[in-house]
């Protein structure tokens, strides 16, 4: 395990709900519940789940944009959750993020040059004229010319703005980039440009991605391994092709079966699950998926499912696979 870059262990985060003057008793929304994952240098781990599954919160916790309640995040051997001050800044220079909405994640009053060079300035990696040079170099890597430096975000299309976000993330030469739904706001032809660019940059610079998305086809395309989240917990982790060929968790199976395949020759019933994702406030007891699970057994409602290793790298949290 010499090339392990990131190891997340039993990460938990709950947000308080209510508890105000009129809201009655304080309740807790368990956004992330004992999440563990790891990432090697230069690899891409896909993190998929539906809205409210806590996948973005995991990204924010790893980056320390949010503080975890418990658990650890070892990045390059150091526990990021315990860092402060200059040490935290140093760690952050190595981990960057690209957000979903390039409209709101770029300051409309800054020029593109300022936006892209800001991490370098804040992290103290460059100053003066060098800032502009490094910004231009970073933009060149994402296929944008130096004439963009003095223009503003609104002058660019969605796809170009996402390129600017990528240039900003890569300016400080990070080892790890969280991609939080980077193409969800883009059209499919532009999405293809950005996904190709992401792959090229990774091949050239060797950074690792945590690719957060609700879109299974996109995740399949970019990831070597995939972790599936449901209501704050990872229910299955597997190498990409294994997950698509032999999904083990009933939720993963339903999720895969619900994806509309872009081939009219492969029509199928997409209504695999009934009901919506329940609220992460007051989680159901036992397995959190049991109220919607087509294969639920009586003890699923009372007992927490165990983590079962099916094959190297393929783990599932489900009673169905518990052979005792």
């Amino acid at each position: 395990m010499s090339d392990e870059l990131l190891r997340v262990q039993d990460l938990c985060k709950a947000f308080p709900m209510g508890g105000g003057f009129l809201e009655g008793r304080k309740r807790w929304l368990k956004a992330v519940d004992r999440v563990s994952l790891h990432l090697d240098r230069g690899e891409t781990l896909g993190l998929v789940g539906e809205s409210g599954s806590g996948k973005s919160t995991v990204g924010n916790l790893i980056l320390r944009l949010l503080d975890a309640d418990s658990g650890s995040v070892h990045f390059e051997g150091v526990d990021v959750t315990r860092l402060t001050g200059a040490e935290l800044t140093r760690a952050r220079a190595r981990m960057q993020v690209v957000f979903q909405d390039p409209q709101s994640s770029l300051d409309p009053r800054m020029t593109v040059g300022t936006i892209v060079s800001l991490p370098l300035k804040i992290l103290g990696l460059a100053r003066g004229g060098e800032l502009r040079e490094r910004a231009a170099a970073s933009l060149a890597e994402v296929g944008m010319g130096p004439e963009c430096l003095d223009r503003y975000p609104h002058e660019f299309s969605g796809g170009q703005r996402q390129r600017i976000g990528l240039a900003r993330a890569l300016a400080a030469d990070p080892a790890f980039v969280v991609m939080d739904e980077p193409t969800s706001a883009l059209d499919v032809s532009v999405q293809a440009q950005i996904l190709n660019l992401m792959g090229d940059l990774q091949a050239r610079r060797g950074h690792a991605y945590l690719f957060i998305s609700h879109d299974l086809t996109v995740v399949r395309h970019v990831s070597r391994r995939i972790a599936v989240m449901y209501l704050g917990a990872i229910v299955e982790t597997a190498p990409t092709e294994k997950l698509f060929e032999t999904p083990a968790h009933p939720y993963t199976r339903a999720l895969l079966a619900s994806v509309p395949v872009p081939d009219p020759a492969q029509r199928r019933n997409l209504a695999r699950l009934t009901g919506d994702v329940p609220s992460p406030v007051d989680l159901p007891p036992g397995c959190r998926f049991h109220p919607r699970c087509p294969e639920a057994m009586p003890h699923c409602a009372s007992m927490e499912p165990p983590r079962v290793v099916l094959a190297p790298g393929h783990e599932v949290v489900c009673h169905l696979h518990n052979r005792k």
């Binding site: 299309s157 032809s189 872009p262 019933n269 209504a271």
Partner: protein, 326 residues
């Protein structure tokens, strides 16, 4: 088969600060009885404007319908007096939108809003209207329809709200449903449920649907025929099998090749460049600046007309106009 909806050469423009934007340029398509017609294209291609024009709900000004016909059951909707148009909306033609929360009134219960639809279109007592609502909520497979009727929109999940919208749209048993990206805001497992309901309604009740979407996967799973739009124009119409197996227009080919997951890995095809501005579109074929087959001369001078390449397959591209490129 006669067309239920026949849109001919529809042109719509909007006044903007930058100038007049021709958002729809002589767009034509038909929707047959009991058919789900997919209308696909990227953001800004005019697909939503087209569907809204059918109900005449685009804001005028700044918008204006400059020409064309929208024939529905043989009558031109663009020439219908306001009163008749209003009767048609909700009764013969209904619409559902992407974000059901924005389409429901937050301060009234679902029952209140649904009964209003019934009673706007026919003489019905409260009890009779309630029965109609319950029946419709059951048809869209909402559990416990009575408690849904008593609920306020914010008490329902996104999937439930979209089902309420479908129930409300179909309560007067319309002939045509305009669906503008109805599952885009929903999670994939919930999207699957909604698509299954729509497919069943079209199959069982002969409902026709114009389904606007940018998701080619949804098109492949749900639609019978597909119209592809690019920069305000309909560039290709075909049955769903032909669109995926034998796309004729270079734009359609690019659109399909850029979908992830059709090839297992490696580079995706990305259409070079970006969509032109509707204020100053390129002359001739609008796709020419991005087209791998574009030739100087013909493509940049003459706008291609729709030509038939197979019984149910038309395309607007000079590769297929008689004698090839002019």
């Amino acid at each position: 088969m006669t067309a239920l909806l026949d849109i001919r050469d529809l042109s719509v423009s909007f006044d903007t600060y930058q100038g007049r934007a021709r958002v729809l340029d002589r767009a034509s398509l038909t929707v047959n009885q009991g058919e789900i017609m997919g209308l696909v294209g990227e953001s800004g291609c005019g697909k939503s404007v087209l569907s809204r024009s059918v109900l005449r709900i685009i804001p005028t000004p700044p918008g204006s319908i400059d020409g064309g016909q929208i024939l529905f059951e043989g009558r031109d909707l663009l020439r219908l007096p306001q009163g008749e148009m209003r009767r048609l909306r909700g009764e013969r033609i209904s619409m559902i939108f992407q974000e059901p929360m924005n389409s429901l009134n937050p301060v009234f219960t679902v029952g209140n809003q649904m009964r209003e639809v019934v009673r706007a279109h026919r003489r019905a007592g409260r009890a009779e209207a309630t029965d109609a609502c319950l029946e419709m909520l059951d048809a869209v497979r909402l559990p416990e329809p009575r408690s849904v009727l008593r609920a306020f929109p914010h008490e329902l999940s996104g999937g439930m709200r979209q089902r309420v919208m479908i129930a409300m749209a179909l309560i007067c048993n319309p002939a045509l449903l305009l669906a503008d990206e109805p599952t885009t805001a929903l999670d994939v497992t919930v999207q699957g449920q909604i698509l299954a309901i729509l497919a069943e309604l079209a199959g069982r009740q002969g409902l026709s649907i114009l389904f606007v979407t940018h998701d080619m996967g949804v098109v492949a799973q749900l639609c019978h025929r597909v119209a592809v739009m690019y920069a305000g124009q309909v560039v290709e119409i075909a049955d769903v099998g032909s669109i995926f197996a034998r796309p004729a227009h270079p734009y359609t080919q690019g659109l399909i090749a850029s979908i992830p997951g059709r090839v297992s890995s490696g580079e995706l095809y990305a259409i070079p460049g970006s969509v032109p501005s509707p204020i100053d579109p390129p002359p001739g074929c609008r796709f020419r600046p991005r087209c791998p087959h574009a030739k100087s001369g013909g493509c940049s001078d003459v706008a291609p007309e729709m030509v038939r390449v197979a019984p149910d397959h038309s395309v607007a591209c000079h590769l297929f106009t008689s004698g090839g490129l002019p």
